[in-house]
Amino acid sequence: MSKITTKNLNLWYGSFQALKDVNSSFQANKITAIIGPSGCGKSTLLRTFNRMNDLIDGVRTKGEILIDNEDILSQQADLVSLRKKVGMVFQRPNPFPLSIYENIVFGQKIHVGRVNRNALDGIVENSLKSVLLWEELRDKLNTPALRLSLEQKQRLCIARLIAVKPDVLLMDEPCSTLDPQATAKIEELMRELKNNYSIIIVTHNMQQAARVSDDTGFMLLGELIEFARTEDIFTKPRDKRTEDYITGRYG
C-alpha cells in the first residue's frame, strides 16, 4: 500500500532546479532507501515530505505529494500536524539540552498540551522501549540527554519522534556519525520499527541501503532514475546510470 506518492514533483532553490518531475510511490511499513551522489536531490526529496524545505528562502515547489491520499502541498495542509505525522531523524543526533525524560515528553507538551504525569511516564517508557533503550536508561531518566553516547542520542531522537505517534520516519544519513557497531544497532532498530512505521532513509552508504531497505530509489541530477525492489537494484539494475553508480564507475 502506498503511503507517500509524488506526482510530477519539481522543486527549485531560486533558479536552480533540485527536483525534476519526480514520480514515486513509497510503501507503508517498508524501509525505502534513496541513494545517489552528493547534490542529486535525495535530501531535498526527503525534506519535501514534511515540508522542511519551506524554511529555506526562495524555494518553489510544483506537483503533488500525497500522504495517505492528502496533498500536503495544498494551501489547506496543516504543517504542525504534518510534522507530527512525518518525523525526521538527522545526520547528527540533536537531543535538546534537557533530561532524557524531558526530551521525550517535549513533543507531547507541544502537540497535546497538558498531560498528566502518569500518562507522560507511560509515553516515556513505551517510547524508550520502542528504541530498545528502556532497560539501559530506566534509572537515568533525569540525566541530561547530552551525556548519552552518540548512538544512544540517535536512539533517543527516534524515541522523541515516536512519542508523538508519527506514521512516517524520515532519516537523513542517520548513521553517518556512528561506528559500525552502533550503525548495526540502529539498522536493527529500523527493522523493528518498520512493523509500525513507514521509513524513508537517505544514505551515502550503499551497503547500508542494500542491507536495510526493501525498496531503493536512485537519484541523479534531480531526477529519480530508477525505483525498484532493493534486491533488484543491487543485483540487476535496469538503467546503466544506476549500474555505474552502484558499481562505483560513475563520474
Binding site: T235, P237, E243, I246, T247, G248
Partner: protein
C-alpha cells in the same frame, strides 16, 4: 574510477580463461589417448589434474577476496558469483576428463572391442560446447551461451546410441565383452556429463549477462 578493482577483475578473467583452456586440453588429450591407445598421454591427463585443482583454489580465493574487499554490486556481483560457479564446473569437467583417462588405462592393454565412431563424435560436441561456453563467459555473449544450452540434447542422443549399441550388440550377446564395453560405456557417460556441466556454465553466463535466471526454466532459453 575503480581502476584497481577493474584490474583485479581482468586478472580473474584471465585465470578463469586459463582454467577453461586446461579443462579443454584435458578432454582433448583423454580422447586422443583413447583413440591412439596412448598410455602415457592418459597418465599425463591424470597427473595434470593437480594443477587444475590448484588453480581452482586460487580463483576461489580471489573471488572471495574481491567480494570481501570491494562488496561488488549489480554486474560486478553477477560476474563474481558466476565466476565462482564457472570455476567449480570447469574443475568438475577436468575431473571427468581424468575419469576418461582412467578408463583408457583400463582398456589400453586389451584388444579394441569395436572401431570408435560415436565416442569421438560425442567428444567433438563436448569440446565445442566447452569452448563456446568459455567464449560466452569471456565475451559476455548470452546468444552463444544459449546455443550451448540448446546443443545439449544432441550429446544426450549420441550417448544413448553408444549405450544401446554396447549393451544390445555386445554385452547382451556376449557377456565376456563387458570388461571392454563397460569402460567405453562409462566414457560416453563422462562425455555426456561434461556437456551437462557445460550447460550449467552457459546458463550461469545468461544470468551474468542478462540478469535472467534460465536454470531449471528451459522455457526461458
Amino acid at each position: 574510477m575503480q581502476r584497481h578493482f577493474d584490474d583485479e577483475l581482468k586478472e580473474l578473467h584471465k585465470e578463469i580463461l586459463q582454467m577453461g583452456v586446461m579443462a579443454q586440453e584435458a578432454i582433448y588429450k583423454s580422447i586422443e589417448a583413447l583413440k591412439n591407445r596412448d598410455k602415457a598421454l592418459a597418465e599425463d591427463v591424470i597427473n595434470a589434474d593437480t594443477k587444475i585443482d590448484r588453480l581452482e583454489l586460487i580463483i576461489d580465493e580471489r573471488c572471495v577476496d574481491l567480494i570481501a574487499r570491494h562488496q561488488p554490486m549489480a554486474g560486478d556481483l553477477r560476474f563474481l558469483t558466476t565466476g565462482m560457479k564457472v570455476n567449480a564446473e570447469l574443475e568438475r569437467i577436468a575431473d571427468l576428463a581424468v575419469d576418461i583417462a582412467q578408463r583408457v588405462l583400463e582398456l589400453v592393454d586389451k584388444p579394441l572391442l569395436k572401431p570408435l565412431i560415436d565416442i569421438p563424435k560425442l567428444s567433438v560436441i563436448a569440446q565445442k560446447m566447452v569452448r563456446d561456453a568459455i567464449d560466452s563467459f569471456v565475451n559476455r555473449d548470452a546468444e552463444l551461451a544459449r546455443k550451448v544450452v540448446l546443443s545439449d540434447p544432441e550429446a544426450d542422443k549420441l550417448r544413448n546410441i553408444v549405450q544401446d549399441e554396447l549393451i544390445n550388440d555386445y554385452m547382451a550377446k556376449d557377456p565376456k565383452t563387458a570388461s571392454r564395453a563397460v569402460p567405453l560405456l562409462l566414457i560416453a557417460r563422462h562425455l555426456e556429463r561434461i556437456c551437462d556441466h557445460t550447460t550449467n556454465i552457459a546458463e550461469d553466463v545468461i544470468y551474468m549477462v542478462e540478469a535472467k535466471v534460465v536454470k531449471h526454466h528451459p522455457e526461458e532459453i
